[in-house]
Subunit: 245 residues, 6 copies
């Protein structure tokens, strides 16, 4: 079976990671997974939410949103509707948890980093692009905080790296990094978040049409680990260049 | 390692499934997993949401909520706060997807079933108890709809059974069906939804403290499949008795 | 005239009061007036709302809610609608005022008790069952607070007992404790809250169809006082047993 | 005991009823009970809410609100807070029920009348002034609707008149028509809505400090009936003049 | 061309300014521009919003609202809809900015004045009437604050006077102070806020149908300055009398 | 006086207009005024809002929003706060009015165009960049609609062009196209929307610190007209190239 865009089943779409996209944010990345484009900004503030004050520990959280016309048909703004939808809530929470998995709160100190992930254009995999890009923005923000001595010298708030990718079974074949057209046809859809050392942070698999068997699950996990490893390399490459501010 | 309540690592808490709890609902179940008690009601209405009208297909959806004092400290009511929290949204969506996995929309016809899962007392595993109990309430509601000829004779809207259980790694040991005290100490927490024939509907694993390796994931999945199989038996036993209305 | 369920006009439905229903709450009661079932939990916290701080006085408040399928047809959740309806507001306020009528704020000290009254099944009289059950939950919560020394030794925060019942005129006959089918046919509907010594805390009478005359009002008040007296006895009996925690 | 403003216990404050206050509304009244001033407008529209369509019956409803500085200290606007408070809800519902008690829905036909009661200045008794003024605005609106043939010739949508007054026990003495300073000191506070023929539409008595006995209740009801009778006369006098449009 | 009400193009409607309308507010004015009637109250409180604390400077803000039946057809209450509309927001902000233009924050000291502008009846020009009336209410409130020593002796928080008027081009003719019927027919609509010394605080011109040329803009500004000058005189006359409290 | 970035008082910042930025929208433009970057998408749908149905006329509306970290310090999301702020409302309305000024509703037919203006990075002049960019996106969307025959052959929905610029008085000097640092120091701030033929659609001038005189107003208008003329040229140049889809 050949994919819409000619990829092999285990091939990612072209990934670009543009650091320093915003002049205001402490870290910012415009990431693209093919036509999916997400702007990830990391905002650092001294202090932590009330429930964490005096703990000596920091906090990292995330908010995900789609521009109304990021998709094929225009969606209502959640600000206009006056409430955040379940999908938005769910993805925001997933991104936050994923990044916190590689944070040493003590090393971060009583600082807060908020990751804003705004989908400028959507073509499947927006949440996985958001996690992958946010990690890079977070790394830049922490470097910034170290430069400002908000983080104590010698402390390393990042304990590892994290990236994410979607996998799914389309017409019986396990595929890596689904585009929107593939996603809507998938029988099973899974988002996997891995650390750079190949362990799992999140595994979220959903049977869209047909329940899936253990060996299908295994095939999907194999693909996802491959994808995350490649994404980790792309993150490392992006971070290897010097960011001018 | 012995568990707080003396269970073995692969042992469920006592499960009770009380059908026909409510005199108004078309299906209703008070389910308990140990001290976790969830009231699941299934409400059948003719017709479907606007976006589905004329399709000849039905719809199944779910809403999850906790009573304010279901937990150890009182939580604010979401109705008073004026908005539904992310966790509630996430669980409601999970329950709905899980049940839809065993529904044949065509066979259901243009009818809607709403599952309300209200947690009367919480001690870990509320979402998995809600899914497991809702399946039974849904089965009763469909029987009711068949009796009323809302569902055409000979059609079987249910294509299988579904149950769910939580698993997690606590102090290095994979455990089945976590109580609250275990849940807060778990390094990895996973909710698994299975069909009665042992396939997966949802797999949601989260590293709470430490990323988890592939073999840990496998051990957790083994436990979960065992637990879901037992729960499927409990569901069958409960449904085998005649429900007087 | 004989009533649907064979009761005489001045007869209550069977009343059950199950204390200690919840393992978490400081006081909890599952009360039933016939098929009406309300779970009342009392949550004690040290401290008072901001406007009362430093007064040396405590506070008691209540929140009432119905599960969506407590009634014959499913109602939307107020949390989903994003706002609390007028009826819910009105009943919550009534329950709070009724219980505060038997509270000595000074004796309670700067502690807050929140009563949550969640209607699990409705068949008329939900607010009166909620008040009657909440009193018992409140009494247990105060005993708990005394045991924990939150309330100073020798102080008695409860100055009396309180119970409530509905009365109404159906087809010209004054009836005690209306079921739902009676309630919808009533020309006049009245909710009466009495103290154990036979005085009034609240009298709320409403002409549903036809204005009512003074002698009809008097007949309804007579019935209500009778009913509240019986309920006070049921409360006392329930509280006479020792509650194991 | 002499009252703050020199009134006898059974004396109303000066009442003024200014009809035709607004040039836009079908009925409008600026009513004052002493320093309490409420603007009541009645808006007539053809048609009824969805749930009543095709019934041949009309509908009457009311909304009550206070201007932010109607009271001694400024209150937040409910529009700014984004939600209506319990007190507002409760009073709006009371006004609507009170007026519907004298409406023949069939005679009104499928028309809707909305009463808006906006308190311009508050000094106790705002809800009773609102009911008393709204009746007059409603009467004018119905006359307007009859003139426009919205109401069929010969049909009388009003089946009677309705007025309301507050009573309370202050320092042991039952008093009629409480001012704010009296209201805050009252042990018992009661709002009574009567028809012009002396029957009751609503009786809402609340023990603010001390439960009240049956004879106290009777004394308050006597006072209230006296007050409502006087208010009915004031309404009749106001309506006797010809309203120029 | 003659105007509906016989005015010349550069003629204001009759203006009345009734001070001391409310017994509670520190400043209050019922202003009318013809049939447009706005109740403006000024509420003084010690202290300032959090973001201004410790600055030694005061704050002045405004909230505008229309009663539901101020207009020809009834509008929904913003409190019932649960959100404030764009027009309301826009006008509230305009009134606040206009009044702050003549305030010396230092001289005011850490006090806050809130202007509430509630439109009781609307016939065009509600925002300009609100600004013009609010200035007078604000002046009275500041006098009150000086009397209470909230404002330090010798300090003058008001640095000038401010008034506002609408102008527009109707059927090719520039007109001053548009009534509603003129407003809806205007090609261009402009609201102008001036200080008493003839300078501009706000100029807001909008092409409703046809873009406007520079000379039309000039003609409108000429008219507006004339109108504001007259309104400044009316404000001065109103403030010249002694206000009894 | 030299400006921060070396511009002369009557010089615009570099303007870039990137058409076809989004693959989904019928028209899309990424516009920059220096460091201010706004993504403008135009979404075309058949049909009009309910209040306009059957009129044969179309509708154009706009929504403006800022990404949380578009500015120097992170702002809360309006979707999270649950309500849209006054500034957002005001700007959305301004953009909509500005574009409608050059629309022939009849020629557009019963189609709706929604302009979404999302500020990706802010450095002053976001609303004027949004209007200027939206015009180009709107032009592309209308061309698209003509290609799809949604707009009837031969009809020209656009009656002209529209662009906008900010001007202000900083330290006594009138300046064109203010950056953020200039904007916060401006005594007077004005936003001007012009048609391509040099007439005014909107003039919004605000005295931030000091009221402004007529000659200052004139100087600002002169500058604004110059700026809008240049922007109209930039729009024309951008639209002259062929947009590949």
């Amino acid at each position: 079976m050949s994919r819409i865009d000619g990829r092999t089943p285990d091939q990612l779409r072209p990934v670009t990671i543009e650091r320093g996209w915003s002049k205001h944010a402490e870290g910012s990345v415009l990431i693209s997974f093919g036509d999916t484009k997400v702007l990830c900004t990391a905002s650092v503030t001294e202090g932590v939410p009330r429930w964490r004050k005096g703990s000596g520990e920091g906090w990292v959280t995330a908010e995900y949103s789609m521009l109304p016309r990021a998709t094929n048909t225009r969606g209502d703004r959640e600000s206009v509707r006056g409430r955040i939808g379940g999908r938005t809530h769910e993805i925001s929470r997933l991104i936050g948890r994923s990044l916190r998995a590689v944070i040493d709160y003590k090393a971060l100190g009583e600082n807060t980093v908020v990751l804003d992930c705004d989908v400028l254009q959507a073509d499947g995999g927006t949440r996985t692009a958001a996690i992958t890009g946010s990690y890079v923005a977070l790394a830049d923000a922490i470097t910034w905080a170290q430069g400002r001595k908000l983080v104590k010298p010698g402390r390393k708030p990042l304990t590892g790296t994290v990236s994410a990718v979607s996998v799914g079974i389309v017409a019986g074949t396990p595929l890596l990094d689904l585009r929107y057209e593939e996603d809507v046809k998938a029988d099973t859809d899974m988002n996997v978040v891995c650390t750079g050392d190949g362990r799992f942070v999140e595994v979220q698999g959903t049977a869209e049409a047909e329940p899936f068997a253990r060996d299908e699950l295994n095939a999907l996990l194999d693909l996802a680990v491959t994808g995350c490893t490649e994404l980790a390399t792309a993150q490392r490459t992006a971070l290897d260049t010097v960011l001018e501010r």
